[in-house]
Structure formats: structure tokens, C-alpha cells
Amino acid sequence: MYAVPLRHIKIGDWLTLLLGALCVALLTLKLWNGDPADRAIIRGGGKIFSVVPLSRDQRIEVPGPLGTSIIAIQNHKARIASDPSPRQYCVRQGWLQQAGEIALCLPNQVSVELAGSKKKYDSLNY
């Protein structure tokens, strides 16, 4: 039963399939893997609070209208470690590591965005 469709695929067809799959895989890797990020842009109240490199592990406290958000940077990744927002969306987003990734704590008006050598597009500004 399963052999029926396979019989129509000749050797060259397998080659084409393989080549096509390789193309798709390469395209996906190239286009969907963002640049590695090298700095975090931290915003508070709509203004840039600070821009820190990801190379040094640290914790940054950002004041907001609800309280203090703590941003942790570790192993070239960044996350919101704690935040006074009621639903904790930005905390639960976890670690960010690719350029263009962003975590927003809207109630406390704090955000952290990763940036690489060039600006990538994401669904927010697409």
C-alpha cells in the first residue's frame, strides 16, 4: 500500500526532493534565525533607561509606576526576573537571546529588547 506512491519517485526525483528539502532547511535557518544579540535596550516609561552589553552578567533594577522591575542578564541572554505587573506576562516569557526579541511589561511601562549588529524585523513592526 505504502509502496504505491513511492514507485513513482525515480532516483533523480529523490535527488530533487533532497535538494528541495535542503533549500527549505537552509532558507528557514537563514531567515528565521535572527542575528545573535549583543546588547539589551531597556526602556522605562517610553524612554531608553539604559543600553547594556550582554557580555557581562548583571541585574538591573528599573523603576516604574507600579514598582521596580528587575532585569537579569546572564550567559548572553536577558529576561525580566521580576516585575510587579499583575499578569506577569513579561516574566513568563523567559529568556530572550536573539536580536529583535522583546519582552514588554506594559503595566509597569518597562521593556527589554535585544539588538544585534543590524535591526531585524519582527511581528511588532512588520
Binding site: H8, K10, G12, T16, L31
Partner: protein, 196 residues
């Protein structure tokens, strides 16, 4: 297409000739018949809901593939382009962006098919042609989208989705076309056996 170069004269010169007769050949009828089948598949396909605009199985290309193998590239080009134009008239999107996307995709596919048909038939079947044509189709469409409709690098994010769909549907269409043509490769053998 040969239209009436030598249309028969009106039977009576006094009666105004009301009908124009186009001399059509058997080849023309074949093109029309195949394009009609392709149109039917296009309509069928439009009834299938798509998860993402632009991701379509392209069932009509099965007909193009079969025509390519049976009658050659010229006939395949006629069938494919007739299907695009007549299909757009049916769906009311003639000369809209969608029409140009389809047309350019079809032209790119045909260009690639013109090359890929010369691949040795011993090793390369309709599946190869179908995959190549599907990739050409989507590449052409993305080019038009980028150059004309959405000149924004953000559409690059959609390419992996479209490429995956092209590979998947290209393979499936190629398999279906191969399945249909299987009968043609078997029957000559049978008739040969009978002739022997």
C-alpha cells in the same frame, strides 16, 4: 492556435455572413479540453480553505505536468496560461494584483519546466518537474510581491512557509501526475504483448 486564415466564404454572397468560423485543429481542441480540466481543478481548489493566503495546493498544475509529458512544452504553456487568464475571468480578478501574481508565477514555472523537461527521463519524472515548477512559482511570486506590492524586507519571514508548502504540494502534485500517467506507460506494454 490557428485561427481562420482560410475561413470558408459565405455560401450566398447576398446574405450577410453572421457567423465567424474559426478553423480549429485537433491540437486546439486538446488545449481547450485540458485547460477546461485545469479550470475545474482551480475552482475545486478555491473551495478548499487555506491556512495562509497564498498557500494553495495548485492542483491545476497536475494537468500542466501531464500535458507537458504527453504533448510537450508549447501545449503545456498554452494550457497553463489559458487556465490563468480564464480562471481570473471566472473569479473576477482579471488584471488585479492576484492575477499578476498568478500569471508571473505560471510564467516562471513554465520557464523552469522548459529547462527541466530536458532532464533525462530515465531518472527524472513528473515529481522532479513539479517540485522545480513549484519553487519557481513561489520565487516568482515573492519577487513580484517584493518589487511591486510590499517592498519590505519583512516578507522574507514568510519565505520558509511558502518554500515548505511548495516542496510539499510540488511533491504531491507530481505524484498524482505520475499516478495518472502510469496507465500510459503500462498500456503500450500491454498492447505490445498483444501485438506479439
Amino acid at each position: 492556435m490557428q485561427t481562420g486564415d482560410a475561413a470558408p466564404p459565405c455560401p450566398l454572397p447576398l446574405v450577410p455572413c453572421t457567423s465567424i468560423l474559426l478553423n480549429t485543429t485537433a491540437a486546439d481542441h486538446r488545449v481547450a479540453r485540458m485547460a477546461a480540466v485545469a479550470l475545474g481543478l482551480t475552482i475545486l481548489e478555491n473551495a478548499i480553505p487555506s491556512p495562509l493566503p497564498g498557500v494553495k495546493p495548485g492542483l491545476a498544475n497536475i494537468v500542466t505536468l501531464i500535458v507537458l509529458a504527453r504533448y510537450g512544452w508549447r501545449t503545456a504553456a498554452w494550457v497553463s496560461l489559458l487556465r490563468v487568464v480564464a480562471g481570473s475571468l471566472l473569479f473576477g480578478n482579471f488584471l488585479t494584483p492576484g492575477f499578476f501574481l498568478g500569471l508571473f508565477g505560471a510564467l516562471c514555472s513554465l520557464a523552469v519546466l522548459a529547462l527541466s523537461q530536458h532532464l533525462p527521463r530515465r531518472w527524472f519524472g513528473p515529481v522532479s518537474h513539479s517540485i522545480c515548477a513549484a519553487f519557481a512559482h513561489i520565487a516568482g511570486q515573492m519577487l513580484i510581491v517584493y518589487l511591486w506590492l510590499i517592498p519590505h524586507a519583512g516578507i522574507a519571514y514568510l519565505i520558509p512557509i511558502f518554500a515548505t508548502a511548495a516542496l510539499l504540494f510540488g511533491t504531491v502534485n507530481g505524484l498524482i501526475a505520475a499516478r495518472f500517467m502510469e496507465n500510459e506507460t503500462i498500456y503500450p506494454q500491454i498492447t505490445q504483448i498483444h501485438a506479439d
